[in-house]
Symmetry: D2
Subunit: 477 residues, 4 copies
Amino acid sequence: MNGFKDECGVMGVLGDNEASHLVYLGLYALQHRGQEACGIVTVDDDKQGKVLRSHKQFGLVSDGFNKDILSRLTGRLGVGHVRYSTTGGNLVQNIQPIVYQSSENGSIVLAHNGNLTNAETIRKELEASGSIFTSTSDTEVISHLIAKSKKATVKEKLISALQQVKGGYSLVVAAEETLYAVRDPYGLRPLVLGKKGNAWIVASESCALDLIDARFVREIKPGEFLILKEGQEEASEFPFEKKPEAFCSFEPIYFSRPDSTQNGSAVYIQRKRMGEILAKEYPTQADVVVAIPDSGVPMAIGYSQATGIPLELGLIRNHYVGRTFIEPSQAIRDFGVKLKLNAIEGVLKGKRVVVIDDSIVRGTTSTKIVRMLREAGAKEIHFRVGSPPITHSCFYGVDTPDRKKLLAAQITVDKIRDLLGADSLGYLSNAGLKEALSDKSQGYCMACFTGNYPEDICAPISKQPTDADGPGYFASK
Amino acid sequence: MNGFKDECGVMGVLGDNEASHLVYLGLYALQHRGQEACGIVTVDDDKQGKVLRSHKQFGLVSDGFNKDILSRLTGRLGVGHVRYSTTGGNLVQNIQPIVYQSSENGSIVLAHNGNLTNAETIRKELEASGSIFTSTSDTEVISHLIAKSKKATVKEKLISALQQVKGGYSLVVAAEETLYAVRDPYGLRPLVLGKKGNAWIVASESCALDLIDARFVREIKPGEFLILKEGQEEASEFPFEKKPEAFCSFEPIYFSRPDSTQNGSAVYIQRKRMGEILAKEYPTQADVVVAIPDSGVPMAIGYSQATGIPLELGLIRNHYVGRTFIEPSQAIRDFGVKLKLNAIEGVLKGKRVVVIDDSIVRGTTSTKIVRMLREAGAKEIHFRVGSPPITHSCFYGVDTPDRKKLLAAQITVDKIRDLLGADSLGYLSNAGLKEALSDKSQGYCMACFTGNYPEDICAPISKQPTDADGPGYFASK
Amino acid sequence: MNGFKDECGVMGVLGDNEASHLVYLGLYALQHRGQEACGIVTVDDDKQGKVLRSHKQFGLVSDGFNKDILSRLTGRLGVGHVRYSTTGGNLVQNIQPIVYQSSENGSIVLAHNGNLTNAETIRKELEASGSIFTSTSDTEVISHLIAKSKKATVKEKLISALQQVKGGYSLVVAAEETLYAVRDPYGLRPLVLGKKGNAWIVASESCALDLIDARFVREIKPGEFLILKEGQEEASEFPFEKKPEAFCSFEPIYFSRPDSTQNGSAVYIQRKRMGEILAKEYPTQADVVVAIPDSGVPMAIGYSQATGIPLELGLIRNHYVGRTFIEPSQAIRDFGVKLKLNAIEGVLKGKRVVVIDDSIVRGTTSTKIVRMLREAGAKEIHFRVGSPPITHSCFYGVDTPDRKKLLAAQITVDKIRDLLGADSLGYLSNAGLKEALSDKSQGYCMACFTGNYPEDICAPISKQPTDADGPGYFASK
Amino acid sequence: MNGFKDECGVMGVLGDNEASHLVYLGLYALQHRGQEACGIVTVDDDKQGKVLRSHKQFGLVSDGFNKDILSRLTGRLGVGHVRYSTTGGNLVQNIQPIVYQSSENGSIVLAHNGNLTNAETIRKELEASGSIFTSTSDTEVISHLIAKSKKATVKEKLISALQQVKGGYSLVVAAEETLYAVRDPYGLRPLVLGKKGNAWIVASESCALDLIDARFVREIKPGEFLILKEGQEEASEFPFEKKPEAFCSFEPIYFSRPDSTQNGSAVYIQRKRMGEILAKEYPTQADVVVAIPDSGVPMAIGYSQATGIPLELGLIRNHYVGRTFIEPSQAIRDFGVKLKLNAIEGVLKGKRVVVIDDSIVRGTTSTKIVRMLREAGAKEIHFRVGSPPITHSCFYGVDTPDRKKLLAAQITVDKIRDLLGADSLGYLSNAGLKEALSDKSQGYCMACFTGNYPEDICAPISKQPTDADGPGYFASK
C-alpha cells in the first residue's frame, strides 16, 4: 500500500552442500523486500574448475523454483537476490545476482541492495574508455571497476572498486572459495551474519536466519568488509574512510519484517514504540484505535496501550491480493484500495476513530481509506502517522516518487488533513522517531524527513533541510 | 493452518452487462473459501438462442483470469465458483459451475457450496437406470435429478430435484433468464442477497458485495428458494419441509472473512466475543496475549480486552506463502510452521504468554507453535482455544479429517495439554460458543463439537453425542 | 492445404508394461490425422481395483507429453486418440479417449474415429429420458447406450449400443482387462491389427505399427467386432447386419500416410497409380511435371513416369509451418499459400507446366498456386487433379465444407479452369479412381464424388447422385 | 538428419512502419537456418531519442511471436536473427540480435551469421584491459571493438572493428538511422539485398524476400560494406583487404532452401546438377532411385533423369517431428531414424535400389537407413552421396563434429561401405562438385572436403590437405 518500495534483499551461504536450498528459503523469508524478480547463483567445483549454476526469473520465489531447479544448483557456495524493479524496467539482464567471468579473475558473483549515487558518472567514464554495459543496473559498475583494477587479488580488486563508489550498498560477493559481505561506510542498508552448523550465512534481515534454523551472530557493521571462508573464523576489515552511521530509518518504519532484529531490537518493538510516542505527542479523545494493515498494526497496538483506547480490527485485509486486476468499465469507488481492504461497519459506526498508518507518501491511498471509514459510519476520524512527514526523496536504494509527488513536500499538514478529509492529523515528530528508534538514534539516516543527506548528492535536488528537531506536525479542524 | 477446509464459495449476478466482471471480483473476495480451482459461466443471447461462455481453471482467481477472458464471457447473467478440492482429486471436470445442456430444458448452470449426504445413494440409483456421471462431484446428482424430472418447468424440476437431496447446499443456478438462489432447509451454509443498481447479486458472503459496491439486502433464509428476474422483485418460496435452523458454527469461528455479516452481525464481532467469553471461562495470570494469525487475532483482542493483559504480536505471519516448498534434506525443525510463522523473542522472552487459536483439529501445528514459543523464551504458555474440542467429523461441506485424527475425539484435554507442551489449555465451552454467537444460538449446527447432527447421517459414524452443554474443557498442570 | 480434414486417429495397446509409451509413439505416427488435441488413458490395477490414468491436451503429441506424464500413465492396457476438432469447438471435454465410470460396468474407455449419422436423434431420445450430455462429441452417445443397456456383460452392452448407431466408426474400447476393436459394417474408416511380442496393438494406420517395431497382422474387417485379451488368440465376431464395403476413398487420396498399407497395398502405390491413370486420361504436351506437396508428389511421379515429362520440384514447402501467423496490415499477395509454398523461377520460367494436386475442395488455394506459378514465369499451366470433382459433403467423419462451398458442386469444370486461371484442367474420372484403387474398387465409398451414400443420410442433403461412371472431367481453353 | 548444423540466419528491414512484421516473416522463411532461438530488435524514435524494442526467445519463430509482441516492436528499422545454439549452450544472453548501448555511440544492434576465428584471442586481450563479457558469443567481440575504437563515427568504428576480426561473417547492423550489411572478404556466408517498395531488406537467403513480396536486388559481394539509408541509394564500400572468394559449398549442398537463389542460380538447380554429375561418375544397374528426404530429393531427381532409373518415394518423412521423444525402455531398433523416416516395402521389396543422400558426416544415420531399406526387402543397395567425403572440420560458422568423428577422415571409402552395409558407395568428386556449382567454382570454400582453408586457422588442426582434384571416391563389393 505504501508509495515507498525497497529494492532488494540479498542472501549468501558458504559451506553447505545444500547451499542453494538454504538461499532459496532465505529469499522466501526476504520476499517482502522485492517481488518482481529473484535469482540464485551457486559456485561448484568441476573437473575443469569452478562452474557457475544459475536460475533467475520474474515473479515470486515460490512461483518458479522447484526441486529440479534447486538440485541443479549444486555447490557449497551460493548467493541469492530478490528485487523490486526500478525505472530500469523489467529487463531480464537486470535480475541479480550478476555474474562476471574472466580468465584472470575467475567468476565473480554479486548481489546488491542499495543504490550507488555516483554510478552514472563512473559509467560514463568507463564507456568513454570503451567498456560495454549490458544492464541498466548500477551494480554492473562494480563489476567493471573490479575488471579494471590493477590490484593483484580479487579481494584487493573488490576493495579498490568499492573505494570508488558512493552511496548505499549491502553487498554479497562470491569469488573463488570466498564469500564477501560488505556494508557501505554509512551502513545505509541492513546486513546480518549468521551461522548454521559450520556454514556461514549472510542475509539482509535476521528473519531469513530464523527460517533455516541458523544462529544470529551479529549485524555486520557500517564500513565492514567481511571475508568468510570455510573452516575459518570470519576476517573483518574496515578499508573505507570512516563515516557517521546513517542506517535507513524506513527499514524499521516500513520495510523490514517485524520479526527481524535491527540495531539490537526487534523491529516490532521499535514500531510499537513509534505508536506509543505518537500517542504522547497527539493524544486523542476517541472510542477505538484502528490500524491500516500491516505495518500500522504494531504502531496501533502501541498507541492503544499508551492511551487506553481499545484496539479493534476495523479494516480487514484480503490475503489473496494478486498482481493485476481487471476493473469493470463501470467504475467502482476506490477500487484499488477495496481490493486490499474492507471496513467493518460494526466496529466503526458512530465511533470516534483513531486510524494509524506507518507513513503518508502521496496521500492517495490515505484519502481513500478515510472515505472508506467515513462510509462505514465513523463519526470522527483522527489520522495518526507513525513517522514524520516525508519531504525529500531517497537516493540510497529506496524507490521514492519525485519530490513533487511527495504530499508533505508540497502542502502543509493543515492542507493534508483537509485533503484526507480527516478530523485531525498528527505525524510523529523527528525527535519522537529518534526516541522510538533508541538512544543511538543519531545513527539513522532521516534524510527523507529532513533533507540532511549523509553525503553530497550528485542529483540536482533541493538541499534546504527542514527543521529536523522542531515541534511535531499536527493539524485539527 | 487449520485442518478444516471449506469447500466452496459461490457468486451469481443477473442484470448487468458486465456480469462476468462482477462475478470475477466477487470470487476474488471469496477466494479464502477455496483456492484450488475457480470458474465462471455466463449466459448470453445469440441469434441462435442462449449461448454459454465459460472459463475454468486450477489456481487462484487472480492468477488466471484476464481482460481477454472476461471480455469473452459476455452476457447479463453469470455464475461463479471457487473450490477447495476434496478427495475427488484435482479433476478438471470437477471444477464448477457445472453445466448441463439439453434441448428440452435449455442450459442449466449450477454452482454449489455444501455437501449432499445422500448423493452416493442417488447416484447408484441413477447409474442403475443408465445415467452416466462424468465427475465425482455430488453436484452432478442435482443435474441428473433435474433431467429426470417429469415436471413442466425448469423451476419445478429444480425444486423437485432438491426435494430429493439431503445435506447442506447453498446453490446458485442460472437457467433461461432466471437466477435461482437456494439454501437447504437447515441453512447449513451461508448465502446472501445483494443489489447493485438494478442487478441482482447472490454471494456466499457479504464481503463479495462490498468489493463491487453492491448493497447488502439480506441473508437468504434456510429453506428459501429465491427466484430472481431482471426488472422484477424477488420471488421467494419455501418448497421444502421445515427443519430447525442449523447454520455452520465453523463459519464464524474460522471460515468466513471477519468483515462479512452473518446472522446480523460482523463475523469479527462474533469472533471477538468468543475471546471475551473464553477469558471469562479461563482467566489467566499472564504478561501478554498472543494470537495465532489470522483467525486467532479477533479472539485475542477479545481476550486481551476482557482480561486487561496486553495484546502483542508475538507470532509474525509471512505474507508470501505459496503452494509448494522444497525442504532441504537436512530437516529444519517445524519446517511447515516456520514457513508461515516466526516468533519474536523480544516479545516473548521470560514472559507468561496466553496464546489464542481458533480451534485445534489434529494438534500437529499447535504442538509446533508451542515449541516455537518456548524456544523464543516464553516462561509459561497458556493455550486458549476460541471454540470447543472437535470430536466429530462434518458431513455438510467441510473437509474434516477422519474422527481418528481428530485429537479431541481420541484423548482427554489433559492429555492434549501434555501433547502440546503447554502449561495450561482451555477450550471455549459449548455454552460459551452459543453465547458468543448470539442468543439465536440454537440456530447453529455444532455437530463437530457435540455429535448432534441436524439430520440422520447415512455414513456409519459414531452417533454418541458428547455432552453439549456441560462444563468447559480445561486442563492445567 | 486441403479443405478436407480427417477427424481422428486411434491407437490401443494391451499386454505391455509400457503401454502408454507405445500408445504415445503410435499417436505420434498418426499425428497427421489430427493436430488439435490428443489424449491417452491407461487402465491399471490397484489394490482397490481398476484405476484409470489419463492425460489429455490441446496441441501436438510431441508438444505436451513428457517422461513424467508417461510414467504416471501406468498399466498394461492403454488407449489413445488424436483429433482434429470439428464444429463442436475447442472444448476440453471433447478430447478423447472418453471415459465413463460406473459401479456396475466398471470403467469404460472409448476412442473413436468416424461420425455417427444418427447421433443427434439418439441424443434427443436419451435427453428426453433424463440423460445428461457433457460434451458435444457424438462418441458420448455410445457411452450412454452402453449405460442404458440391460444386457449382462460389458461386451454385450457394447454390441447392443453399436447395433443402435449408424454411420462410420473405427472404435477402440478398453474395459475390464479387454481391448475391443470395432469397425462399422461399411468399413468406412481404417483400423489395423498388429502384434508386438505378446502385446496386441490396434491402430488407425499401419505406419503406427512400423514405428514401434510391431508386426502388421491384418486390417480389421468391416463389421468386425474384435475381442483382444492378454495371452489369448483374438476372438472375432460379426454381430452387425452385413453391408456392402464402403471404405473411404479419401484415405488413399489424401488422409493416410503414403507408407501405410491399406487394402493390401501401400498408399503411395495407390496414389502413384492415380497419377498414372490421370496421365492416360489427360496426356499433355508439356516441359515439366510439378507437384503440389505433399500428397500431390506420388501422383506427380506417376504422371511423370507415364508421360515421360520430367518431374521437377517447382514448389518448395516450408517445413516450419506453425499454427498462427501474423499478417502485416500491408497485405501480402497470397499470404496463406506463401507461408507454405514458394515457386522456383529457375524451374518454371518459360516452361509448359503440368501441376498435380490431390483434389480441389474450395478452389481458393489452387487459384493462388496457379497465380504463383504464373508469376514465376510458367508459360502454360495444365492443372491435373488426382481425384474426381468433389460434389457432395461427407457425413462419416471427414470435415467437409457445406456443399455450397464445394467448387465442383457449384460450377462446371470449364468455369473452374477459368477461375483457377489454368490453361487446362483435368480431374481423374470416377472409373479412373476405381481402377487406381484396385479391382476391389466397388468396396470404396465415393459419395463425395457421386452422392451415392452407403446408407440413408438423416441430414437434409441433395441426394441427386452425379453420374458415377460417366466420362472424365476436363476443360481446356 | 545431417550432422552439420548451420548456426544462423539474419534479416534486416529499413524504411517500413511494419519493420518488425517483415523481419518476423523473414525469420520464418529462414527458420531452417536455426531452430533453437530467435530474436527481433527494432529501433524507434521517441521524444527522448532512439528507443530499442526487443523480443528474444528460445524455440521457433511461430511458437513465440504474436500480434501483441510484434505491435510493441515499433519502428521503421528492425533486425532479426534465428540461431542454432553451439557449444556455448542455451544461454539467454547468447540470443541475437545483440545490443550495445552507450551515450557516445547510441544504440548499436548486431545480428551475425558466421564464426570469427580470432575471437578468443581478441577477447583475452580485451579482458586483460578490463572489458567484461556477458555472453559466450563471438559476436560480442565486435561490440567491444566498436566501443574501443577511437574513430569519429559509428560507421568508421564498425569498419575499424571488422578490420580486426578474421573468419566468416554476414553481419547486419542497425545504428542511428542506418542499416549496415557486411560480408567478410571471402564471402563465406550468404547475404542478399532486396527492396519492398521503398524499404531496404537484407536477408541470409532470397527465400525470405519471396515471402514478403520483396524484390531480389542482388547478392551482397564478398568484402562489401553496404550502407543503407531511407530515401537514398545504397552506398557500397570495400574497406577490407581483398581475398579470394570462398563461399561455403555446404550452403548449396545442404543448408540453403532449394528455392533460394545463390551465385545466380536456384539452389534446387545446383543440387539437381550434383545428382546428375554423380550419375555420370557412378552409374549403376538398378531398378529404383530413392532419396533420403529432404535435401537428397533434388539430387535423386537429377540422378534419375541422368540414368533413366525411375525415382520412387521409398522413404517417407514424418512431418510432425518435434524436439524431444521419449523412448520406451524396451529399445526400438533405429528409434531416432524411425521417428523421422519409414520405408515402403511395396517400393523396395526385391529391388536394386540407388539411395541418394546429400552428405555423410558421422555415418550413424546412414547405417540405420541402409538397415531400414534392407529390412524393407531391398535386394541391392547402392549408396550415392551428392558431395565429396567430409574430412575436415569447419571454422566459419558451421557446427561440425571433431575430425575424429568425421567418418571419412578416419576410414577409407571401402571401409565406409562395409560399415553402412551397402553394396556400393559413391561420393561425388571434388571436381564434380565444382562443376555442379558452376564454372565460378574456384569461388567456393571446400575446406571440409579438402583441408584447403581460405585463411590460416588459429586452432591446432591437421592442415594436410586431401587431394582436391583427384579421382572420385567409390567402393563396391
